[in-house]
């Protein structure tokens, strides 16, 4: 079975500051990893995904994430946040062999202050 842990339920940060949202996962099989963003009153939008290759993945809106297999982590980073980045961020995993079994973490609310 797979599980995802997002330890930080809320992350407050000032505009233009860097941010890191943490994600750790547990799985006995190889997995693909995803970050989704959910803006207020909207659905989930795919930010980035790690399937294979380079462990540093770049996504939309200036976000990037690094896959660390030894630490079973997939932390999301942005060097300088904007007010518009205020949203809920979800980390998700799925087994490589199963395109349907997407397991989500509980989410991290990023609040950017001016």
């Amino acid at each position: 079975a797979q599980s995802v842990t997002q330890l930080d339920s809320q992350v407050p940060v000032f505009e233009e500051a860097p941010v890191e949202l943490r994600c750790n996962y547990s799985s006995s099989v190889s997995v693909y990893l995803f970050w989704y963003v959910q803006y207020p009153n909207q659905g989930l939008q795919l930010l980035l995904k790690y399937l294979s290759g380079s462990t540093l993945v770049k996504g939309i809106n200036g976000f990037e994430a690094e896959f660390n297999k030894s630490q079973t982590s997939f932390h999301l980073r942005k060097p300088s946040v904007h007010i518009s980045d205020t949203a809920e961020y979800f980390c998700a995993v799925r087994p490589v062999w199963n395109t349907d079994k997407l397991i989500f973490g509980t989410g991290t609310r990023l609040q950017v202050f001016p």
Binding site: Y36, G43, D100, T106
Partner: protein, 116 residues
């Protein structure tokens, strides 16, 4: 390319009433999912369709929830009768449905249900 469409966006009902949600997936996407997202939690899969057939409904509370995708395109999720604990956002997602391991799910805007 149009995304996944859902309606209504918001719904408020009394407990024991019935409610239905509609989803139109991305054109050509064979696989469709319904997720339930309770406040403060990540989405959890309720049911998965491949074309018009159910692939996985193991997490669907079948005593009160039902879903269909009659023509393999649009889908409807129904709750009858609703309970207070059904208050949540109901998300529809779709993917192309091929065997490619890299296939990705795309989500609609969701329907926020409040049961009073």
């Amino acid at each position: 390319e149009a995304g996944v469409a859902q309606s209504p966006r918001y719904k408020i009902i009394e407990k024991r009433q019935s409610v239905a949600f509609w989803c139109n997936p991305i054109s050509g996407h064979a696989t469709l999912y319904w997720y339930q997202q309770i406040l403060g939690q990540g989405p959890k899969l309720l049911i998965q369709f491949q074309n018009n057939g159910v692939v996985d409904d193991s997490q669907l509370p079948k005593d009160r929830f039902s879903a269909e995708r009659l023509k393999g395109v649009d889908s409807t999720l129904k709750i009858q009768p609703a309970k207070l604990e059904d208050s949540a956002v109901y998300l529809c997602a779709s993917r192309a449905g091929g065997q490619a391991q890299t296939d990705t799910q795309y989500f609609g805007p969701g329907t926020r249900l409040t049961v009073l």
